[in-house]
C-alpha cells in the first residue's frame, strides 16, 4: 500500500472512531446531543439519544464493534512493518550495496553444502557488538569424518563471509548424521 492510500485509510479510521465514539456516548446517555456545539452533529445524533432497548442495544453493539475494528486497523496501519535486516557489503559516494539477512543465510547454507560430505545446511545469523556470529547446523554423510567436516564447513563459511562482506565472523558448526528435520523442525510461515 502506498503512502497516499495509507493516509486515506488512517483518516477514514479516525473518522469511524470519532463517529462510533459519539454514537456510543449519546446512546449510553453520557453526552446529550444538545451539548454538542455543532448543530448538524446534534441533529444527526438526536435519534440515538431517544432509542430504547432493544434498538438501543443493537446501536451500542454496532458502534462498539465499529470502534474496535477501526482501532485495530489504525494500530495495524501505524505499526512499522518488520524489515529484513541488511548487512553492508560496500558503501561509497555512488551508493550502498547490502545483502539481506535472508540472502546472506542462503549464501552461507549454499557455501556449507559445497563441502563434500555435507547433505544439507541451515544457518542462523546474529549480529552483536562483538560482531557477526553464525550458527550452522549441517547434516552429513554417515561415512564422513565429522570433526574434519566441521572444520571444513567452518572455514568455508568464514571464507565466504570475508570475501563478500569483508568481515571476520565467528562460526559455530553443529554436525549431525540424521537429516536436519529429525532433530528440529523449522516453523513454516
Amino acid at each position: 500500500m502506498n503512502i497516499l492510500n495509507r493516509v486515506l485509510v488512517i483518516l477514514f479510521t479516525l473518522l469511524v472512531i470519532a463517529a462510533s465514539s459519539l454514537v456510543l456516548a449519546v446512546t449510553l446517555e453520557l453526552v446529550a446531543p444538545q451539548r454538542l456545539r455543532v448543530p448538524l452533529l446534534s441533529d444527526v445524533l438526536e435519534p440515538f439519544a431517544e432509542l430504547q432497548p432493544p434498538p438501543q442495544t443493537v446501536a451500542i453493539a454496532i458502534a462498539a464493534g465499529l470502534l474496535v475494528l477501526a482501532l485495530v486497523v489504525l494500530i495495524a496501519e501505524l505499526t512499522p512493518p518488520a524489515r529484513d535486516k541488511k548487512f553492508t557489503i560496500k558503501k561509497d559516494d555512488l551508493g550502498r550495496v547490502t545483502v539481506s539477512e535472508n540472502g546472506l543465510r542462503r549464501l552461507v547454507d549454499r557455501e556449507a553444502a559445497l563441502v563434500p560430505g555435507v547433505m544439507e545446511a541451515r544457518s542462523e545469523l546474529y549480529e552483536s557488538k562483538q560482531g557477526l556470529r553464525v550458527k550452522s547446523r549441517v547434516s552429513v554423510d554417515p561415512g564422513s569424518d565429522a570433526p574434519q567436516l566441521t572444520d571444513q564447513v567452518r572455514d568455508r563459511i568464514k571464507g565466504a563471509l570475508e570475501r563478500h562482506l569483508g568481515r571476520v565472523a565467528e562460526v559455530a558448526v553443529d554436525v549431525q548424521i540424521e537429516p536436519l528435520d529429525r532433530k528440529k523442525r523449522r516453523r513454516v510461515r
Binding site: 500500500m1 502506498n2 512493518p81 518488520a82 524489515r83 529484513d84 541488511k86 557489503i89 560496500k90 559516494d93 555512488l94 551508493g95 550502498r96 550495496v97 547490502t98 545483502v99 539481506s100 535472508n102 540472502g103 542462503r106 549464501l107 549454499r110 557455501e111 559445497l114 570475501r163 563478500h164
Partner: protein, 106 residues
C-alpha cells in the same frame, strides 16, 4: 518528476537490472519497502526518489548463486546498468544507486 514519470522510469531501471547476468529477478521486500507506486501500477524491487533534479535509486534484486559469485561485483554491474538507462531516459543526475541483494537462488 511526478509519480507517473517515476513509475515509468522504475520500469526501465528494473528491466536494466534484470538484464545483468546473474540477476534473476527483483524483490520488493517483505512489506514492499523497495517498490515504486504510481497511477495504474507498481514496480516491485525499484524505488526512485527525485529531488532538485537529482535521483536516488534503490534496486532490490535476487541473484543466482554460484560458487564463484561475487556480490560486490554483481552489484557494481547492476549499478552501472541502472545509471546508463537512467542517463538515457531522464536529464536528472543520478546521485546514488543503492543495491540490495534480497535473495539468492540456485
Amino acid at each position: 518528476m511526478d509519480s507517473t514519470d517515476r513509475l515509468e522510469l522504475a520500469r526501465f531501471l528494473g528491466d536494466a537490472a534484470i538484464s545483468v547476468p546473474g540477476v534473476v529477478g527483483l524483490r520488493g521486500g517483505r512489506s514492499g519497502e523497495v517498490t515504486e507506486y504510481g497511477p495504474g501500477g507498481r514496480v516491485s524491487g525499484v524505488a526512485v526518489a527525485a529531488a532538485a533534479e537529482r535521483l536516488q535509486v534503490t534496486v532490490s534484486i535476487a541473484a543466482r548463486y554460484s560458487p564463484d559469485l561475487d556480490l560486490a561485483r554483481l552489484a557494481g554491474r547492476v549499478r552501472r546498468a541502472v545509471q546508463r538507462v537512467a542517463a538515457e531516459r531522464v536529464p536528472d543526475t543520478v546521485e546514488r544507486v543503492d543495491v540490495v541483494v534480497a535473495d539468492l537462488v540456485t
